[in-house]
């Protein structure tokens, strides 16, 4: 696909990660890594699967701290280790129907042993009910952060 100009409503996130980029790349393509970090603090993704080749599927069901499961999937589109990854992510309903789809472009640049990560996210599809899902998901991790803050303050 042709490069597209970043323009609202695209989301652009940049981060410096204290790890070599091979490792950061693996964290997005190896299910054993994905299971350990995919999902906000307090969430778990124990059954992550990732078939990291063009057209390969990923399955990322997130379990919230209160036990709610948010079903999620995805597809890898472009894989250029260790610098670039294009993949879509989906939010699914209980019947496996797509509630929302996003196209994510990850770019990794190594600098002094650290990795400059750029993630560009484009909306692809949004069904009428998905705003509630996102709100519930956010409530799940916000409340887990509040719990953590309260715990640390004790």
């Amino acid at each position: 696909m042709t490069e597209t100009t970043p323009l609202p409503p695209d989301v652009l996130i940049t981060r410096t990660i204290e790890a070599p980029r091979e490792l950061v790349f693996a964290a997005f393509t190896d299910a054993r890594h994905l299971a350990q970090w995919w999902g906000p603090e307090g969430f778990t993704t124990p059954d992550a699967t990732a078939d990291a080749r063009p057209g390969g599927a990923m399955r990322l069901d997130m379990h919230s701290p209160d036990g709610t499961v948010f079903l999620g999937g995805g597809t890898y589109h472009e894989i250029t280790p260790p610098e670039r990854l294009v993949f879509s992510t989906t939010i699914l309903d209980d019947a496996g129907g797509t509630l929302a789809e996003f196209r994510n472009t990850l770019t990794l640049v190594e600098r002094d042993g650290k990795t400059e990560l750029t993630l560009s996210i484009q909306g692809v599809y949004a069904s009428p009910v998905v705003a509630h899902y996102l709100a519930d998901m956010e409530e799940g991790w916000t409340s887990s952060l509040v719990c953590l803050a309260e715990y640390l303050a004790r």
Partner: protein
């Protein structure tokens, strides 16, 4: 904003030419001829793209002036950006965790290599 409208917005934005047209219109209103100038596509093709943008509510076209200027509808873009905002926050939270996780992984790897 109704979410079927939102999908129409995303669909309209999925095309690089339409994005370039919007980027141009962000600088100010413009005629179809002016918009077509930087592209190697025909005027009818540009008109087709403009129709998609118009149907998605991303642009409006003047009724009165003969050249029917195209204007960006910032509100539609803003509504879509607002809709994306919780998803951005979820990703920020995920990347916080990724950062923490990779620090731990490296410590373990370091220990393991010391044990060897």
């Amino acid at each position: 904003m109704a979410t079927d409208r939102l999908s129409a917005t995303f669909g309209a934005l999925a095309d690089p030419t339409r994005r370039a047209i919007l980027a141009r219109l962000a600088l100010g209103e413009s005629s179809v001829t002016e918009l077509a100038a930087p592209f190697s596509i025909s005027l009818p093709a540009v008109t087709k793209h403009l129709k998609v943008l118009q149907q998605a509510g991303l642009i409006t076209r003047g009724r009165h002036a003969q050249w029917r200027p195209c204007r960006i509808e910032a509100q539609t873009l803003r509504a879509a950006a607002d809709w994306m905002e919780p998803y951005r926050r979820i990703w920020e939270a995920k990347l916080d965790r990724l950062d923490d996780y990779l620090r731990v992984v490296q410590t373990h790897e370091h220990k393991e290599s010391l044990d060897d």
